[in-house]
Amino acid sequence: MTDITPRLGTVAAPPGAGSYHRESRWYPYALIAPTMLTLTVVALVPFLYMGWISLHEARYGQVGAFAGLENYRKLLGDPRFWNSMSVAGLFVAIAVPVEFMLGLIGALVLSQKIRFRSVLIPFLFIPSMMAPIIVGLVWKTMLAGSWGFFSYNILERFGILQGSSVFASPDLALYGLIFVDIWEWTPFMVLTFFAGMQALPANPFWAAQVDGANPVQIFFRLTLPMLAPLLVVIGLIRTIDAFKVYDTIYILTNGGPGITTESPSVLGYKYTFDFWEIGTASALAVVIWLLFFVFCNIFYQIAKRRLNVF
């Protein structure tokens, strides 16, 4: 008679599971305690300390008198802050959608009958898995003025830029950095979307083919909606990561020429270690952190509700 018991979805609680819980309710907390304690010490305390500094006069490593919101007023009144926000905004607004589109196209190509696919896939990991500072180094050599491989053989040959580096041009430097970011992260998008497509259930696709749907219809009506949660998660992760990019900018332009590629991370660095304006730098860090926390919260809510992955 047991086979008529409904067994839908939820896994039945194992026998006695409830009693174990009552037995010692603090057991799971004991397991997570070391992690929580560590994260509190290495992340929360420094963060609170920084918040405290941001409310004080602080220069040259000396924290002085209480200053209220003075540092924030100074920060929000600094055109360089708004410049850095727009640099990051432009960076994210171009890089992420391009990586996204190319990633989808690449994943569709990779899903076709391709020879040597298993040999190709590991290579696609390389740009996003190697150190960002080395990615910067690679493109520093490729795009170096006059002798860089790309500069000489492509940019000069087609008359785009003569005898100078992309990264020395105030008009082109930011787009050069965006190009590098696209080179670095598109292969990763391809792989992620490809993995997502492989994990989709096959039945709806057979049914659609039987019903005579064409590939375009199948892509927009089936693949895309079924992939939506994954796309949202990846889009958010990439947005956050692109916003905090530092290493590649540091090695390629360090914010220059002028302040044309000065992202918030680069600005924060300069406030601290070039101008020693630690109070303003802390205020900037708090603002960025708040921005990230909002992002992070949205990410978590969507991921939890729509993907059930956490």
């Binding site: 390389i126 491989f149 992760i237």
Partner: protein
């Protein structure tokens, strides 16, 4: 039949061309490690050259092999610490989903990861200056916990969710305590997940630049920090930088070949069960 064959050929060609576009710049940069300055800066581009090892000589003379050792020590130690601290937490988050405040605590774990390093490096610098932790191995190992511990807990927890509950229950019925069931029954099953996640943590530490650059010093320089040190007032030492680029990337490539299945899952924080 013919059409699909032709399609397959086109797509294969496309994919190989793309892979070449990805790999060529990397290998081109490596080639600088073996080129003389004249060959590097030549216009038009020099394709064939006799390899020189002068750059390697410079690296050894100036003690850059210590950078490699430092990288191994710091990445290894911080990864080991992360595995020890994080494994029980990852399991608890996956297994006891109904515990109070679970979501808030898990979100806290994620939030520590999302912060850009530049946010934390200021208080770290000031605190380390006070406690004499600047330019020490311990200082960097602690700093690397900020991004790796949360990452490890988050990703391993997604591996833990795949563990069959019945096995643990069976072990409990056999009279194992919860802790013993975890160590004897579940840990062996988790080993592939732990290995994959730990190796990713190792790579993140290996690749890390900003903390190493600002919190390290004369004694604890890691490989990535070697790169800006080669941009000198006498000029940029491209050949030596290329060596760091090569030595820094090789282990990553090896890891990628062995762990490709797990990386997608790791880098999407467990969102894809790849």
């Amino acid at each position: 039949m013919h059409k699909s064959r032709a399609n397959s050929l086109v797509f294969t060609t496309l994919s190989i061309a793309y892979a070449a576009l990805i790999l060529f710049p990397v290998f081109w940069m490596w080639s600088y490690a073996f080129k003389s300055e004249a060959e590097m800066f030549a216009r038009p581009t020099v394709w064939l050259f006799t390899p020189t090892f002068e750059h390697f000589g410079y690296m050894i003379e100036n003690g850059y092999h210590h950078y490699l050792v430092n990288s191994l020590i710091v990445s290894g130690a911080s990864t080991a610490l992360v595995v020890i601290i994080g494994t029980p937490a990852a399991y608890a988050f996956a297994r006891y989903r109904d515990m109070k405040f679970r979501d808030d605590l898990f979100l806290f774990v994620l939030a520590t990861r999302m912060a850009p390093p530049v946010c934390l490096v200021i208080p770290y610098y000031l605190i380390y200056a006070k406690f004499d932790l600047l330019d020490t191995y311990l200082g960097l190992v602690i700093a690397y916990l900020t991004f790796n511990l949360s990452f490890y807990v988050w990703v391993l927890s997604s591996f833990c969710r795949d563990l069959p509950l019945e096995l643990e229950e069976a072990a409990r019925v056999e009279g194992y305590s919860r802790a013993r069931a975890f160590v004897k029954v579940l840990l062996p099953l988790l080993r592939p997940g732990i290995t994959a996640t730990a190796v990713l943590c190792f790579i993140f530490a290996w690749n890390e630049f900003m903390y190493a650059f600002l919190l390290g010093g004369q004694n604890v320089k890691t490989l990535p920090v070697g790169i800006p040190s080669l941009i000198t007032t006498q000029g940029v030492r491209w050949g030596e930088m290329a060596i760091i680029g090569m030595v820094g990337t090789l282990p990553v490539m090896v890891v990628v070949f062995f762990l490709q299945k797990h990386i997608v899952r790791g880098l999407t924080m467990g969102a894809v069960k790849g």
